[in-house]
C-alpha cells in the first residue's frame, strides 16, 4: 500500500540527521535534545510504543538509542550523534501518542550530553537541507 504524501513541519531552529530522520536541538549548558522528525514518524506509521536505552548509556553515532513500535513492526532509533544519554523521555514512554502529536515538543526522546559535538555537528544538516531531502524522497510532500 502506497504511503500518502507527507504533510508536516520541519522547524528552522533544529539540526537534522537526514539518514535516520532524527532532529537535534541545542540546550543551554552544552546538552542536546533528540527526537524523531515528523517525516520519520510518517514513514514508520503511528507509533504505539517508545523505549529509550537506559539513562547513562553511552551511544555512538548511528547505533541504537532506543526503539519505537508500530502496529506490525519494531524499528531501531539510530543516534544522530555520539552521546551519553542523560534522560529518556519517560512521559513519552508512558504516552507514546505525544511523539505522534508533538514530535518536536513533548515528543522529544532523549536529553543527552554529546561526546564529540565538535567533530559530529557538521554531519548534521539544517532545516533547508532536510526539507530538500524530504522532497527528494516524497515529491508530493507538503511542508508547513
Amino acid at each position: 500500500m502506497a504511503l500518502t504524501p507527507f504533510t508536516g513541519t520541519i522547524p528552522d531552529n533544529l539540526l537534522y540527521d537526514p539518514e535516520h530522520d532524527m532532529w537535534v536541538r541545542e540546550l543551554p549548558g552544552g546538552e542536546l535534545l533528540v527526537g524523531a522528525t515528523a517525516f520519520g514518524i510518517h514513514l514508520a506509521g503511528e507509533i504505539i510504543a517508545f523505549t529509550s536505552k537506559p539513562n547513562g548509556a553511552e551511544v555512538a553515532r548511528g547505533r541504537g538509542m532506543g526503539t519505537v513500535e508500530c502496529r506490525k513492526t519494531l524499528l531501531a532509533l539510530h543516534a544522530p550523534l555520539s552521546f551519553v544519554l542523560l534522560e529518556g523521555n519517560e512521559a513519552a514512554e508512558e504516552r507514546p501518542g505525544r511523539i505522534n502529536r508533538d514530535p518536536y515538543g513533548d515528543g522529544w526522546m532523549a536529553r543527552v550530553r554529546p561526546t564529540d559535538w565538535a567533530g559530529e555537528r557538521g554531519l548534521l544538516v539544517d532545516a533547508a537541507a532536510y526539507r530538500a531531502q524530504v522532497l527528494k524522497l516524497d515529491p508530493e510532500a507538503r511542508l508547513d
Partner: protein
Amino acid sequence: MTERLALLIGSAQPEQVVTPLVHALAARALDAEVEIHFAGPAVRWLVAGAAEAAWPTPAREKSIAAFLDEAAAAGVRFYACGMARAAWVGAEETLRADAGAAGATAFVARTLDPAWRTLVY
C-alpha cells in the same frame, strides 16, 4: 548491559512465534548480538517456503516469513536444531539460505555462558 542474547523457539504455532521474533528485533535495535535457535517442531519455520503461508492473525496482514525476513535483515542469526531437523524436516526439503545448524548443546552452552542471556519461548 549484556550484549548477547540467544532465544529458543519451540512452537510451530504462528501466533506464538511472532513475539520472540519481535523481541529479537528489539535486542538488535539495542545493538545486541542475537541468535535464535529453532527447536522441535519450530524448526519447520526455517523450511524454505513454509513461513510464507503462515499468519499470526486472522487478518493476515503480515506473514511469519515477513517477520523472519525482518529479523534476518536486522542481523539476527537463525539456527536449526539438528535433532529437530532430523525429526521434522523431510529429506527433500531445504532450509532458508540464512539458516545455520546448531545442536541442542549449543543453546545449553549459551545459558551456561555469563556473556549471554537467554530467553525460551
